[in-house]
């Protein structure tokens, strides 16, 4: 008897008991259920929640693998053991075994903790509430390790994941009912609870925290951090695009995020309206700031000068903006639901991200706060779009009946 039959038997055995949702979840995750709908359904589609989630995970895998290599690359580069890759995407200095070993050693625990703790919370809630375990956490669990600094202590991640899943999602009723993106709730919790581990110039490169104060201390300032302090970025734009820069684990490579974004658009999982309008929003805000600098309204001594004078298109390459736009802003639960609303929603995310980034150097990752803010406003946007439609149609109705 195969695993499938065993699982099915367990499922039958525990039917109606408290643990039933847990067995059902494992069963549906691994196999097609034994019972499927035979009649009565009119719309048949191959993509259920599970497949949707898995498509997003597939789009995230390249970022994860790149993140592992980058973890080791940044570590050894800071130590001076290897040469910089310098704009060569297939550089042997980057894609080598030593780098991957460091990456596996540091990133895999993050992935395991994120999935283990998050799914445990989901199972506990499913058992208590007596509903089925939902697949919503599959993507969140993959996003979380990609958006935290590499050296984050694991116990902090555990607390943050519990907080994010319970407060961000379960209290509202679980997957599909949450107001805020759970992955960003987890990151925001970490950011406000343990700021020393989430910002500054130490946490982004593995080993930098441990070496503080020693003669061979290494530092790993992100580009945003350098610019906010008025220093030059220190990286070629091609390096930024390829992702050979310090940052959170999986968000550095704009190239791979772009590919993942195209994949999501091609499979119709991610909304191209949100992605496009968010990019436009960021470009517009960046353009305005460039204009302010060109007009000479602020001088080089201003503390905003560094980020304001950054060329407008480079805002897309640095920090987590691209990652946030492609994978977080498009979360179908927390984004606007109407097509027209998606344009406003996306545009404002890009616009506000760059705004926060420039005007508040204490919160270098503006995209996190911008998406959370717009998550809150998404229902309002939808409301006005709907009301606009209703008004227009009422008018049409009056013309017809008159």
């Amino acid at each position: 008897m195969g695993l499938k039959q065993n699982l099915h038997k367990l499922k039958e055995k525990y039917k109606g008991t408290k643990m039933a949702p847990a067995f059902n979840a494992i069963h549906t995750f691994l196999y097609m259920p034994n019972e499927t709908t035979h009649s009565g359904s009119h719309v048949r589609s191959a993509d259920d929640l599970k497949r949707t989630m898995n498509t997003v995970i597939m789009a995230l895998i390249p970022c994860l693998i790149f993140g592992m290599f980058n973890a080791g690359y940044q570590h050894y580069l800071a130590l001076g053991d290897i040469q910089a890759a310098n704009g060569d995407f297939f550089s042997a200095n980057f894609w080598n075994w030593n780098n991957l070993t460091v990456g596996l050693w540091k990133v895999l625990p993050l992935v395991l903790i994120s999935y283990g703790v998050g799914l445990a919370v989901e199972f506990v809630f499913a058992v208590i509430k007596g509903h089925e375990v939902e697949e919503g956490y599959l993507v969140t669990g993959m996003l979380v390790p990609l958006i935290v600094p590499i050296d984050i202590p694991l116990w902090m991640l555990v607390i943050a994941v519990i907080f994010g899943v319970v407060i961000g999602k379960e209290v509202f009723g679980g997957t599909g009912m949450n107001i805020l993106n759970p992955a960003l709730t987890i990151r925001a919790f970490l950011f406000f609870a343990y700021p020393t581990w989430m910002s500054g110039d130490k946490v982004w490169v593995h080993g930098a925290v441990a070496s503080t104060g020693q003669p061979d201390a290494i530092s790993g300032e992100t580009i945003l951090g350098s610019l906010a302090q008025g220093n030059p970025a220190g990286y070629d734009w091609l390096d930024m695009f390829y992702g050979f820069i310090p940052g959170s684990v999986g968000e550095t490579s704009t190239l791979l995020i772009l590919l993942g974004g195209l994949f999501l658009i091609f499979t119709k999982i991610g909304s191209w309206r949100i992605m496009l309008s968010a990019v436009v929003g960021a470009l517009v805000m960046g353009f305005i700031f460039n204009g302010v600098v060109d007009a000479g309204w602020i001088s080089e001594t201003s503390k905003f000068y560094g980020l304001m004078s950054t060329e407008f298109w480079q805002h897309l390459l640095i920090g987590g903006l691209a990652f946030g736009i492609v994978y977080m802003a498009t979360d179908p639960v927390t984004a606007s639901q109407t097509n027209k609303g998606k344009w406003f929603y996306g545009f404002l995310i890009g616009f506000i991200s760059v705004l926060i980034r420039v005007f508040n150097p204490a919160y270098p990752e503006g995209v996190m706060l911008a998406i959370l803010l717009m998550n809150v406003f998404a229902p309002t946007i939808d409301h006005y779009v709907l009301q606009g439609n209703i008004k227009r149609r009422m008018k049409r109705l009056k013309v017809k009946t008159a």
Partner: protein, 215 residues
């Protein structure tokens, strides 16, 4: 309680749990968010409100038949303001550091919705003894939540309780801090107080299903 009749003891016990001013009536949230970062401030606030509300309820109840209803809000405000000024002066005289820490929030007891609410809803229609008990009960229910929130926020946010370093020294790395524990800075921000109050409401309603509103 042998001292009180069953009806009277209900006046004190009800607001502590099933009719709590903060978690059920959702009044007085502002001060619960603002001053609960330290346990000591929460306790002082709780005691102050118990004093103001108990005495105020008695005073209003004694005057309830001679207050013209058109100006009753002004009369109530004068009573609260007088009592709050007494509290403020006492704190300034005997606990100056603490009064600086609480700053405007002692003065803002005047605008605490619980106080005006009890004056309006209870003291204007009941005798002094029952009003006194009602004041104690409601203020204690408010204070209870304040102390719970203050306890968790100070313990997890600063690692101290009433200023005593119960979890060890974060700078010298003793106690819990020696194994890598760190204080949760989020606990010191007001949003976390809101979340803790929300969690208390969640626990309370899941234990007593009768409190869940239909909608």
């Amino acid at each position: 309680m042998g001292l009180l009749s069953k009806k009277d003891s209900k006046l004190i016990l009800d607001p502590l749990a099933d009719n709590n001013p903060i978690t059920i009536q959702v009044l007085g949230i502002c001060s619960a968010l603002a001053i609960t970062a330290q346990l000591k401030a929460s306790i002082v606030m709780a005691v102050s409100v118990i004093f103001v509300l108990a005495i105020g309820n008695v005073v209003i109840s004694l005057m309830r038949n001679i207050i013209p209803s058109k100006i009753r809000i002004i009369v109530q405000l004068i009573v609260v303001a007088t009592l709050v000024i007494i509290v403020d002066q006492v704190l300034k005289a005997f606990a100056y550091e603490l009064s600086k820490e609480l700053s405007v929030f002692i003065g803002l007891i005047i605008t605490n919705c619980i106080i005006m609410g009890r004056f309006e809803a209870f003291a204007l229609g009941n005798g002094p003894w029952r009003s006194f008990l009602d004041g104690i009960g409601n203020a204690a229910g408010y204070g209870l939540i304040l102390v719970i929130v203050g306890f968790f926020r100070e313990l997890l946010g600063s690692g101290t309780l009433l200023g005593i370093k119960v979890l060890g020294d974060p700078i010298a790395k003793t106690g819990l801090y020696s194994i890598g524990y760190e204080n949760n800075g989020f606990m010191l921000l007001s949003p976390m107080a809101l979340i803790i109050v929300g969690l208390i409401i969640w626990v309370q309603r899941s234990r007593n299903k009768a409190l869940i509103e239909e909608n």
